[in-house]
Amino acid sequence: MKADKCGLFFESYGQENQIFPSPVQKTCLGAFLLFLLIVPFILDSYYLSLFNLIFIAVIGAVSLNLITGICGQISLGHGAFMGVGAYATGYFMNLGINFFEALLLGGLVASLVGIVFGLPSLRLKGIYLAIATLAAQLILEYVFLHWDSVTGGSNGLALDAPAIFNFYFDNDLKMFYLLFFFALISTLAISNLMRSKYGRAFVSIRDFYLSAEVIGINLFQYKLYAFGISSFFAGIAGGLAAVYAMYITPEQFGIHLSISYLAMIIIGGMGKIIGSVFGAVFITLLPEFLSIVSQHLSAFFPDISTYLLGLKEGIFGLILILFLIFEPEGLAHRWHLIKAYFKLYPFAH
């Protein structure tokens, strides 16, 4: 019977509901993951550090996409929630708690803070919620700067390299595997959540909250779930950023960070997990790309690098606007079209 199959058929609902249903997808993903496991050995630490920043950004972007893209609750405070995770992880590690537990605690503290600042979402929508979460961002920044005994204030907080059972992740290569691991399990966990009743409930709240509640969804509970889960992973991303940098200051978690993450999910594709990954890669590599371009151009125009780097924010904004106009559904949509093309290639049947 197998030979008669033409295209993808499923023999059970379990099969159909997999995150990557087709054998081709599984193979491609497997090959890609294998590549990621091997590639660090041939890269120097500069490229490794880019990968590492991307891994952290992936966790942050996926978690922001959960609350904003998937559940429809706009958040301008994501950077600060990451900061809460960073400071909490650092604080607990400096108390002598081991890295892994400190990171989980950091995630939980961020989660609680996210739930508290998510409370206004029960009343506020759209622009009003955006302003409420902006207030959260500013309040938390103030706390980072002024709660000296915990955060070290403007001096910042120094951390040890993370260790698991006396194995220290003290260089970019070792960090690569640690961050890769966390990026992978966070993305898988949220992808799993998306095909459960929680993911469906979040989308239903985004798409039509009035019918979500008459079909049996407790809006109060599920919006807070969304804020809690999103900020938990934001906290994990923040905690990882903290141990990677080994030093945290309030400026790292300012409003610019929240905006970069919003840019990631807009460019990647709102509500699409894979989009957050693309967006994280894009926004992390953008400054690198700009500096490479300016280096090459400086052979012809000696002053260009100062101009281009000075224009970084402007170029960043321009790209965001271009995406909003020409690719409003983000890179995930483009990816989807490319996949659909190759699915039929070379025969369309």
Binding site: R200, D207, G216
Partner: protein
């Protein structure tokens, strides 16, 4: 006389001093189809909103299976077994047909958050069991070709069916339908009437139907409640309603008077 599934007792609802419902009372006997008719603006949708919990009446009571439900939020009324569709389609546009119906199963799914992150064990088993129930509804409503389509892209008539399917997925004891045939052609209207009758017969679901198509209303209802300017004008069997002089007077000269000819 059998058990009553819903008892609406002297319900009054006002918007900024303007009355939408004035001391409205009627009952729905278990297992029956009751229709709520009346001209536009009569208060039919407002009545459904009071039952499903979107609006809170100023006065009066609504009892479901003998229990007052007015203090309950909408999601708890859904869990008791009240489902509804909307006059204007209110689907989750970004979800597939299948997922829209699976949202309807929400209150039947017991698994917790933690196991959802792993999609393992209880979560996976429960999802698959409930998927079977949803597939029955998909078959029943002939939605199989659209199963994996995102609902926002489907034709109007199909979306109306998906919305019915989502409400059915809740396995409601009482189904509130707000103009399910509005905007449909003759064939779609007949199909919808057939579905409503089948739901009522096969699942013993009680139904409150708001509908303008008097042919359908008179054909399939066990009882009809006529609303006019927020007040109950008459209650009775379709035959009684068609002969009621007050109803005839109220409807005379209106487009809706169509049913008098039948």
């Amino acid at each position: 006389m059998g058990k009553l599934i819903l008892e609406v007792d002297k319900v009054t609802l006002t918007f900024k001093g303007i009355a939408a419902l004035v001391s409205v009372s009627f009952n729905i006997p278990a297992g029956k189809i009751v229709s709520l008719i009346g001209p536009n603006g009569a208060g039919k949708t407002s009545m459904l909103n009071c039952i499903s919990g979107r609006y809170t009446p100023d006065r009066g009571s609504i009892r479901f299976l003998g229990e007052n439900i007015l203090h309950l939020p909408p999601y708890k009324r859904a869990r008791l077994g009240i489902a509804r569709t909307f006059q204007n389609i209110a689907l989750f546009k970004g979800l597939s047909v299948l997922d829209n119906l699976m949202v309807g199963r929400h209150s039947h799914l017991q698994y917790g958050l933690f196991s959802s992150f792993f999609y393992f064990g209880k979560t996976k088993r429960e999802e698959e069991t409930h998927r079977l129930r949803v597939e029955e509804i998909i078959d029943f409503l002939n939605l199989s070709p659209y199963r994996h389509k995102i609902v926002g892209s489907l034709p109007y008539g199909v979306q109306k069916r998906v919305e019915l399917g989502r409400a059915l997925a809740l396995e409601p004891k009482l189904l509130l339908l707000d103009e399910p045939m509005a905007g449909m052609n003759l064939e779609e209207t007949e199909d919808m009437a057939r579905y409503i009758l089948d739901i009522n017969e096969d699942w013993k679901t009680s139904i409150l139907l708001v509908e303008h198509d008097m042919g359908v209303v008179m054909d399939i209802s066990d009882e009809v409640v006529v609303l006019d300017f927020g007040q109950v004008l008459a209650t009775g069997t379709p035959e009684e309603i068609q002969k009621n002089p007050q109803v005839i007077a109220a409807y005379l000269g209106q487009e809706d008077s169509l049913f008098l000819g039948r």
